[in-house]
């Protein structure tokens, strides 16, 4: 039924209310993969900074007080958590 209506729409004799193929293909959500890739790159770079910090923590002259370091850990966990959700969404896309 939809096939006949699409054909009629294409020849200008009906199919009112049906979206065209062009409208469906060029919808705004089409750029989602690009946006997700940008987020992944940004968060990975942020996480890497924290990972580097913890890798050399004992060698830093003044890494900060213990509560602050604990806070850095939580910030890293939050970033990892966010990254996992973004990557899961990306794998669906």
């Amino acid at each position: 039924m939809i096939g006949i209506r699409l054909f009629n729409r294409d020849i200008g004799k009906g199919g009112v209310g049906l979206e065209s193929f062009a409208e469906i293909i060029n919808h705004p959500a089409r750029n989602l993969i690009g946006d997700l890739n940008t987020e992944v790159a940004e968060i990975m770079e942020m996480s890497d900074r924290y990972t580097m910090f913890f890798n050399v923590l004992s060698e830093l002259p003044d890494p900060g007080a213990a509560p602050l370091i604990e806070h850095y850990k939580q910030e890293l966990t939050y970033k990892r958590q966010f990254l996992i959700y973004i990557l899961e969404l990306k794998s669906d896309v």
Binding site: M1, I2, G3, I4, L6, F7, D10, I11, E19, F21, I24, I25, H27, P28, A29, R30, L32, D35, L36, E39, M46, R49, Y50, T51, M52, F53, F54, N55, V56, E59, L60, P61, P63, G64, L68, H71, Y72, K73, E75, L76, T77, Y78, K79, R80, Q81, F82, I84, Y85, I86, L89, D92, V93
Partner: protein, 184 residues
């Protein structure tokens, strides 16, 4: 289809109906895909709201100092780790613990790592998510495949594997955000 139908007033059903049917299926699939994409974009927007609450307290000075120290340390460690990866065979390293090495394990790159590839010892002892290094080996114990950030962590795990596997569960109770992250 335009060529098939043209200006004809009637066409045999068996010629046009399969084509209308294919067209309909393609259209419906595209529409479904578009609707899914819109849902995913909405979900992405929700996630971005959470990003707004993300803080970055690590100062530029600390980032710069860490980078400089790490660059030197990482290049030395890389040489050692590559040597270990190339020259160590898979072997039993503790009670029921098998150290799987890249050069002697088929499909090494496809081993499904537990705890999302983060170092189990760092999680348990410091609540810290540090990436494990498969070059140092993947440690199989009780159907768990674990990786570690350094040699010290490996030695701690090999000495008391049950302690770490039990305590990681406790750690997840204290830090529920780890449950999904570590695929517990």
């Amino acid at each position: 289809m335009k060529g098939l139908i043209g200006n004809k007033s009637s066409i045999p059903k068996d010629q046009v109906y399969p084509k209308f049917d294919s067209l309909s299926q393609i259209y419906s699939q595209l529409l479904e895909e578009k609707n899914l994409a819109i849902l995913r974009r909405d979900l992405f927007k929700v996630l971005l709201d959470y990003k707004e609450t993300m803080t970055n307290s690590l100062s530029d000075v600390l980032i710069r100092e860490s980078k400089a120290l790490y660059a030197d340390k990482a290049s030395k460690l890389r040489v050692v780790e590559e040597h270990i990866a190339a020259n160590t065979e898979s072997q039993l390293v503790g009670e029921n613990i098998i150290r799987l090495m890249p050069n002697s394990t088929p499909d090494f790159m496809h081993i499904p790592l537990d705890f999302l590839g983060f170092c189990l010892v760092n999680i348990v002892e410091h609540g810290l998510l540090m990436p494990g290094k498969p070059n140092l080996g993947v440690f199989k114990y009780n159907e768990k495949y674990c990786v570690f950030a350094d040699q010290d962590s490996i030695e701690k795990f090999v000495a008391e594997p049950n302690k770490y596997l039990e305590e990681v569960v406790e750690k997840c109770r204290q830090m529920p955000e780890l449950i999904h992250l570590l695929k517990m």
